[in-house]
């Protein structure tokens, strides 16, 4: 398979709590190590990626974390301001209009405007150029919201193109949609855990991305996988030690769930599944991310 490095926008999503930010951080770090200028975007969250990598939170400004790696937390208010200035061109005009309390109320209810400006900022960074004409960022890693929110977030351009009368909003939306649906630019990585609900959500998300939004799924990551350890014979031998049997049984069941989840993902998504084992480190930080990155080598660099 081809590696993610061939694409420029990597969208990471899945059910809440499956480790999307962990995977985003690992992918972004690997991209930066490969010499690509990489920007990792979080959307209006309590930032995690920067902290995972051992840096202070980036905040709403694009911030250099380390060589080739930048981060930004895309927040509605700042994104709205940047978009507003782009449209209105004058700071004073922006202030008069947008710092008016009533206008703020009003804009909150313009359908999908918030998503549009958030996504707009991300897409803007994707198209930014350096003075010499090269892209400012080679790779953009989007730590996307969880399943339902991700689908509505990424559908916004499509929905606007279909519903909004011609005008500035629909022109912006058209541009964004063209980039999102272009399989040589955009790829989705869906994260799951070896449990029923996260696997089902990854499958639902894949279906929605494929049919509704037209975004190509590139691979799945099965986080917190459990590798095989106990045989049936082991379990039988422990049958007379209830406590140990329970420990071994639980481990064995999770091994089986891991296999089952991997198979189910492969069958439904028709893409490679990368297993990231459950990590046992005293604290979750840079070292953990580096380990996860090791397991995602082939996903980023491609099979050689």
């Amino acid at each position: 398979m081809a590696g993610l490095l061939d694409k420029r926008l990597w969208i990471v999503s899945g059910k809440g709590g499956v480790g999307k930010s962990t995977v985003s951080a690992a992918l972004a770090l690997r991209s930066a190590r490969a010499g690509r200028r990489t920007l990792v975007c979080e959307v209006n969250t309590q930032e995690r990626v920067s902290r995972f990598l051992g840096h202070p939170a980036a905040g709403p400004e694009v911030t250099l974390l380390e060589e080739n790696l930048w981060a930004v937390d895309v927040r509605p208010q700042e994104a709205m301001r940047e978009y507003g200035l782009m449209v209105l061109r004058f700071e004073t005009l922006y202030k008069t209009v947008f710092e008016n309390r009533l206008v703020r109320y009003f804009l909150r209810f313009v359908p999908s405007l918030q998503e549009l400006v958030l996504l707009g900022k991300i897409m803007y960074h994707l198209q930014e150029k350096l003075p010499d004409g090269r892209p400012r960022f080679d790779t953009l890693v989007l730590d996307a919201p969880a399943t339902g929110h991700a689908i509505s977030f990424l559908s916004v351009p499509q929905v606007l193109v279909q519903t909004v009368p011609p005008g500035p909003m629909s022109r912006e939306a058209q541009k964004m949609r063209d980039l999102l649906v272009n399989p040589s630019v955009t790829a989705a990585v869906l994260v799951a855990l070896p449990e029923e609900m996260p696997v089902n959500e990854a499958i639902e998300l894949h279906a929605a991305l494929t049919d509704k939004v037209n975004i190509r799924t590139h691979a799945a990551v099965l986080n917190q996988s459990i590798t095989e350890r106990f045989t049936e014979a082991d379990l039988e031998a422990l049958a007379d030690q209830p406590d140990l049997y329970a420990v071994a049984r639980a481990h064995h069941d999770r091994e089986a769930l891991t296999v089952l989840a991997g198979t189910k993902l492969e069958r439904n998504l028709h893409v490679p599944v990368f297993n990231v084992p459950r990590l046992l480190l005293p604290t979750f930080g840079r070292e953990a991310i580096e380990q996860v990155m090791g397991h995602l080598e082939a996903l980023v660099m491609g099979e050689r």
Partner: protein, 370 residues
């Protein structure tokens, strides 16, 4: 006899709202609390959002669409207990609940127009907090009917705790026609957007229309107008919802897992609930790894070498995980002083059948403890 804070809550509260991040087992905790309340003699309803299929099946739920279904006595058979009062469950269909609400408060001639309007679609599905709001609106409705002694609400996976607590205010804001009238007055008067530069709102409007296009503003203004007739009905309900959240017979159960990220979110939630003067009955830490006992290590040392190595490796892993959890929980307790903290261990497999619910309940109510 329960020894945790959830015992008195199950006996006295009329509404319990389970909140927390996605993927921490909120639905399970909500279903467990309703089950225990019914077994102990209070008629209960659990209102779930997107439950796991097997959990839904174990409660006898098959159809979405807001149908309150009685959980059959046969479902409780595996437990060897009989419920002293009825247990009901339902799956909340957000869109349906919104449509029902419009149908209830809109003048008949406006109904179809509103349901078809794009801005309504946005309000009912995309507006931050709208799902949270409609879930609470449903509970308020159920509470008003007074059919159940206890209603337990599972909540949507919230991106931001504030969306949840702010939801009634946001909906009220949306209906606050003052803003719309001020902005749209010229448009409404002239039937098109006023473009007079000498009039403040005209000037603001022109800038705005650069932003959104003029048709969008016109469509919004007509939507606002169609809503204006139903404002009072809405407002009354939104006030009711807000009052319900602050009511002494309503309690929040904050659910988290022992991951540091999830716990940070729980701490944040707790702070906000406190600010909003809402009562957190208990902080439930779900899926905690118990520490392997000395007896386990002892027993492991008697095994054949290969098997011993496998078992000891597993115990070492569990030890690391239990240590992590223990440290995290200590920090959590320190950050939420005075809130009773209840730990539920991680069980062998996914908790989706009635037996596992019962097992969870034994820890929630303190019949079992670590």
């Amino acid at each position: 006899m329960s020894t945790t804070a959830l015992g008195p809550a199950l006996a006295k509260k009329r509404v319990l709202i389970c909140v927390g991040s996605g993927g921490v087992g909120k639905t399970t905790v909500a279903a467990t609390l309703a089950l225990r309340a019914a077994v102990d003699g209070r008629s209960s309803l659990v209102c779930t959002i997107d439950p796991a299929k097997r959990l839904a099946n174990s409660l006898g739920l098959s159809a979405l669409g807001n149908a309150e279904t009685r959980v059959p006595a046969s479902a409780l058979e595996p437990l060897g207990v009989t419920a002293r009062a009825s247990l009901h469950a339902m799956m909340l269909d957000m869109k349906q609940t919104w449509d029902d609400l419009i149908t209830r408060v809109a003048p008949p001639e406006q109904r179809e127009k509103i349901l078809a309007n794009r801005f309504y679609q946005s309000l009912s599905t995309a507006l931050a907090g709208s799902q949270e709001y409609i879930a609470m609106e449903k509970v308020w409705e159920l509470r008003r009917k007074g059919q159940y002694e206890l209603v337990v609400l599972d909540t949507p996976p919230t991106a931001h705790a504030l969306d949840f607590l702010d939801a009634p205010n946001r909906v009220l804001d949306f209906l606050d026609n003052e803003a719309a009238k001020w902005l749209l007055a010229p448009a409404l008067k002239a039937g098109k957007l006023g473009l007079s530069l000498f009039n403040r709102s005209g000037y603001v409007l022109r800038a705005l229309s650069k932003f959104t296009g003029t048709e969008m503003l016109q469509e919004l203004s007509s939507f606002m107008l169609s809503l204006s007739g139903m404002n009072e009905g809405f407002r009354e309900r939104a006030r009711g919802v807000r009052a319900l959240l602050e009511d002494a017979t309503t309690g929040f159960v904050l659910v988290t897992s022992p991951h540091s990220e999830r716990m940070d979110e729980a701490i944040h939630f707790n702070t906000l609930l406190k600010q909003h003067r809402m009562e957190v009955v208990a902080l439930v830490v779900n899926r905690v790894h118990p520490m392997p006992t000395e007896a386990m290590w002892q027993a492991a040392s008697t095994l054949t070498p290969t098997r011993r190595a496998k078992v000891e490796e597993t115990l070492r892993e569990l030890q690391v995980l239990a240590e992590q959890d223990r440290r995290g929980i200590a920090q959590l307790q320190a950050a939420c002083p005075g809130i009773p903290l209840i730990q539920v261990p991680r069980f062998g497999l996914d908790v989706h059948d009635i037996t596992s619910l019962w097992q969870t309940g034994r820890f929630l109510l303190g019949d079992d403890a670590f």
